[in-house]
């Protein structure tokens, strides 16, 4: 069971109506409502409650809560404007879950062949892949005496050098494998500069190959982490 990390309740305006949706009152999905807006002045004499909700950027502001439905562990307050959208997204996710189409866990790589190719590549000092000047995306011919760093021949490579200096051990081997798969997806042209530039951001010194990591954390409303207990339809 993969938990949803988008439980970010947020409200602003007062509403005289209380939306009552019995059909979804027993669903245990948290609100998929990431709210990145700035704080808006809360007004209205019919305020139900006021709560301090930390936003994604760490700002704290007082919001007027609007109860829309009762979850298992208490009410979840959302923005009145986003209420219907949240319910629609919940139905979409429940539909996908009923069809068993959501991915259960993250795989460390997307393609088996690329994973094996990355394992076969020769690593130099510091764990970086050894590469020639013209690095081909597939069938890269590795030589042991090639230099691993880029030369500052243009703006991108110069920026690569500064970024590589500032992040020497940013990610481990698992992330580099993940990057190998992603770069194959995103790079259509044979531009070696655009391929070489992200490589230095993600190559690391860790020799470990981690398994699939579970994504946890996120904003939690109320006490403790929210566990999603789903009942298939």
């Amino acid at each position: 069971m993969k938990p949803f990390l988008l439980s970010h309740p947020d409200t602003m305006y007062n509403c005289s109506q209380v939306y009552c949706s019995h059909s979804l009152a027993h669903t245990s999905y948290p609100c998929g409502d990431p709210y990145f807006g700035s704080s808006i002045v809360a007004y209205g004499t019919q305020a139900i409650t006021q709560q301090m909700v930390p936003q994604m950027l760490g700002l704290a502001s007082t919001r007027i809560a609007l109860p829309v439905e009762l979850a298992e562990d208490g009410p979840i307050y959302v923005n009145a404007k986003q209420y219907h959208g949240i319910l629609r997204r919940r139905q979409s996710r429940a539909k996908l879950k009923a069809q068993n189409k959501l991915i259960k866990s993250r795989k460390p790589y997307l393609h088996e062949s690329r994973h094996r190719h990355a394992l076969k590549r020769v690593r130099g000092t510091g764990g970086r892949f050894l590469s020639a000047k013209q690095l081909q995306q597939f069938n890269a011919e590795l030589v042991t005496d090639a230099h691993s760093g880029p030369g500052p021949v243009n703006v991108y490579q110069k920026k690569d050098a500064s970024e590589a200096e500032s992040h020497p051990s940013r990610t481990g081997k698992n992330a580099s494998i993940t990057f190998t798969a992603i770069s194959g997806l995103t790079s259509m042209s044979g531009n070696s500069v655009s391929f070489r530039r992200p490589e230095h951001n993600f190559l690391g010194n860790s020799p470990n190959i981690g398994g699939s990591s579970q994504c946890s954390g996120g904003l939690t409303f109320g006490g403790g982490a929210r566990q999603c207990t789903s009942v298939g339809r």
């Binding site: 602003m12 990431p34 807006g37 629609r88 068993n100 500032s166 993940t178 951001n201 994504c215 996120g218």
Partner: protein
């Protein structure tokens, strides 16, 4: 669509592929790094969490815009529908700059898209 460019995948047909449901995590990490100081580091868990958040946000706004198109019997969701959906969902501070700089942002997005490839 960027995510559908990839080669053959070993996923079976019933499971939605990770690259179809989520943004590429490298691009998400790169965007997150732009706002941070030079020596800052981002954990992998943070990137994955942000990846989930931004992907869900895209689906959230797009479903609102798609609902508007469905009511108006239109099949194509355009930029104005996205701006309208942002305003409808309460993201007014984003909707107005998006509407005002819509043409410029499209060009910038195209440029960034070329840089990423």
């Amino acid at each position: 669509m960027e995510d559908s460019i990839g080669g053959s995948s070993s996923n079976d047909n019933n499971i939605i592929k990770e690259q179809d449901r989520l943004l590429p995590i490298a691009n998400v990490g790169r965007l997150m790094k732009q706002i941070l100081p030079q020596n800052a580091k981002i954990s992998k868990e943070a990137k994955e969490t942000m990846q989930e958040c931004v992907s869900e946000f895209i689906s959230f706004v797009t479903s609102e815009a798609s609902e508007k198109c469905r009511k108006e019997r239109r099949k194509t969701v355009n930029g104005d529908d996205i701006c309208w959906a942002l305003a409808t969902l309460g993201f007014d501070d984003y909707a107005e700059p998006m509407r005002r700089k819509s043409r410029t942002k499209i060009q910038e997005a195209s440029t960034n898209q070329n840089d990423l490839c």
